[in-house]
């Protein structure tokens, strides 16, 4: 077992096209820890997740996953090492059925607790709709399928990008209520959220990004609303 944190990001810079989205961000995630990253639109949250997942490569700094540098690892290899991303907007494969979407996530055959049966147990509605094309699902069901698809790769670190986006509050609560079942397996989680209440509730540690920099971080219970809004809006 590695001695350090599961994920250690040290002072990375990253670009989104020609635009620098991340400036010297550092972040640690421990084993079985839930970390929230919050911030306004354009604060660099998604770019940060894309760096971890290997879709974007930082121009400076270092990312260590299980004490191994993954700074320039392509996304498909990062997934095989145990990093899974639930992308913003869900992005299921539209021409595949629900079950095929889940199977794609498991195609790398990483060993672990998550199987098709376990995902259906976590989200029973997906089992009922397994043979439907992915676009036939409601938004909340699509989000469940996107989470299930990522879990099928049996990740050690799950990255969730705005899972509440565009969903009714009751659906968001439903999905968040199942996160403990996911983290019970020793999985670490980074949730990127604009819904601060949800994020503070689910996470033990919070990072607040503002214009690509960490404006505030700390244990979720220590952060007051005032501190967060100051960091969020930069006022």
């Amino acid at each position: 077992m590695p001695d350090g944190p599961l994920l250690k990001i040290s002072a990375i810079d990253a670009f989104y096209g020609d635009f620098q989205a991340i400036f010297g961000v550092s972040l640690d995630v421990g084993i079985a820890q839930v970390v929230a990253v919050i911030g306004a639109n354009g604060a660099g949250k998604s770019t940060l997740l894309n760096c971890i997942a290997g879709l974007v490569h930082p121009s400076a700094g270092e990312i260590l996953f299980e004490d191994v540098a993954t700074t320039n690892t392509p996304a498909f290899e990062a997934q095989k090492r145990g990093i899974a991303l639930v992308p913003e907007g869900r992005r299921l494969f539209p021409s595949l059925t629900v079950e095929e979407n889940l199977l794609i996530g498991g195609q790398s055959r990483r060993a672990g607790p998550w199987t098709l049966a376990r995902v259906y147990e976590l989200f029973p509605v997906l089992a009922e709709r397994r043979n439907l094309p992915a676009p036939a699902l409601s938004g909340g069901q699509q989000q469940m399928a996107a989470i299930g698809r990522a879990l099928m790769g049996n990740p050690r670190l799950l990255l969730c990008d705005e899972i509440s986006l565009g969903l009714a509050p009751i659906v968001v609560r439903d999905i968040y209520s199942r996160l403990p079942q996911i983290t019970a397996e020793g999985l670490s989680l980074i949730i990127v959220e604009q819904d601060i209440v949800q994020a503070l509730h689910a996470a033990s540690h919070v990072y607040c990004l503002q214009e690509g920099r960490v404006a505030l971080q700390g244990a979720a219970r220590d952060l007051t609303r005032e501190k967060i809004s100051a960091a969020y809006f930069g006022v």
């Binding site: 997942a53 498909f76 991303l85 992005r91 494969f93 021409s95 979407n101 794609i104 195609q107």
Partner: protein, 288 residues
């Protein structure tokens, strides 16, 4: 009456066109690459078969056991070593590079094999026929060719919808970056798709070379037939591609029967008519 015969021959050659088209539509579907060198690669397969038959005294159809894997390897290497670098948001670079490739293949073949017309000799099977009705005859070779085409199309359909590899191809076609997030190496998937495409046209190239004369310059016309069959059938549907090939084949056969000079023209006119009336093709894939 000769019409049933004409239509039957058109249907049978349509199978060949469907094989040309299946490889082209596969590549476009998976990686949005329009392979201008497709027709020349068909001709290349014919020459590879010619070399195999000359070197080992093989029957052309037997030579498929060599030609198919060789062309698949060529496809994998071509994609991995060249075409992957041209892919991006812009459709133009792969178009230009495959256009250049087309010129290189044609001139390379010209240099190696001269401009002489060649034909592969398949022996007795070429002239065997069966009588279906009083005035209706069917050749053994066209029949085998059509049966192989149907089998290839059915095989591709099964591969796409029943195997993990097919699932990966469809997922990559839907969303490349999410496919990578799922652990799929898209560079490898693209190369496998090109290998599959060239394996299919290897079969088509050998049948083409058995049924008619070929020389290094006939590739671009095969590319046009492939395009027309894909567009008539509708992108994304393998059975639609087979139907497109058959419609093109029958149109050409009918045109040729009216006047030998009208063979190609009739095919193009039917293609243009379908493009005008139903631009999405006859059997388009229902989009998600």
């Amino acid at each position: 009456m000769q019409w049933p015969n004409v239509i039957l021959q058109g249907v049978l050659i349509g199978g060949l066109y469907a094989m040309f088209a299946a490889g082209l539509s596969l590549i476009f579907g998976v990686m949005r690459l329009v392979n201008i060198a497709h027709g020349d690669l068909i001709v290349l397969a014919a020459y590879v078969s010619l070399m195999a038959t000359q070197a080992f005294g093989m029957d052309p159809l037997t030579s498929l056991v060599l030609v198919v894997p060789i062309m698949a390897l060529v496809g994998y290497a071509l994609q991995r070593g060249l075409l992957n670098f041209t892919l991006g948001d812009d459709l133009l670079p792969p178009l230009l590079v495959t256009f250049g490739l087309s010129v290189i293949i044609q001139n390379g073949l010209l240099e190696l094999f001269t401009a002489d017309s060649r034909k592969l000799q398949a022996g007795a099977i070429e002239i065997q026929t069966f009588q279906l009705a009083q005035t209706l005859w069917i050749g053994a070779l066209p029949l085998i060719q059509f049966a192989v085409a149907v089998a290839v199309i059915a095989g591709l359909q099964l591969l796409f919808y029943r195997t993990a590899f097919g699932r990966a191809l469809r997922a990559t076609s839907d969303d490349q970056s999410v496919a990578q997030l799922m652990g799929l190496d898209t560079r490898h998937i693209f190369a496998m798709a090109m290998a599959l495409s060239l394996a299919v046209i290897a079969v088509a190239g050998v049948f083409l070379a058995v049924r008619a004369n070929f020389d290094p310059a006939i590739g671009p016309a095969r590319l046009i037939f492939a395009f027309e069959a894909v567009i008539i059938g509708g992108l994304g549907s393998m059975w639609g591609t087979l139907a497109g090939g058959i419609i093109l084949g029958v149109s050409q056969a009918i045109g040729a029967q009216i006047d030998p000079g009208w063979q190609l023209l009739a095919g193009h006119i039917v293609f243009l008519a379908i493009l005008a009336v139903r631009p999405q093709g006859l059997f388009p894939k229902v989009s998600g």
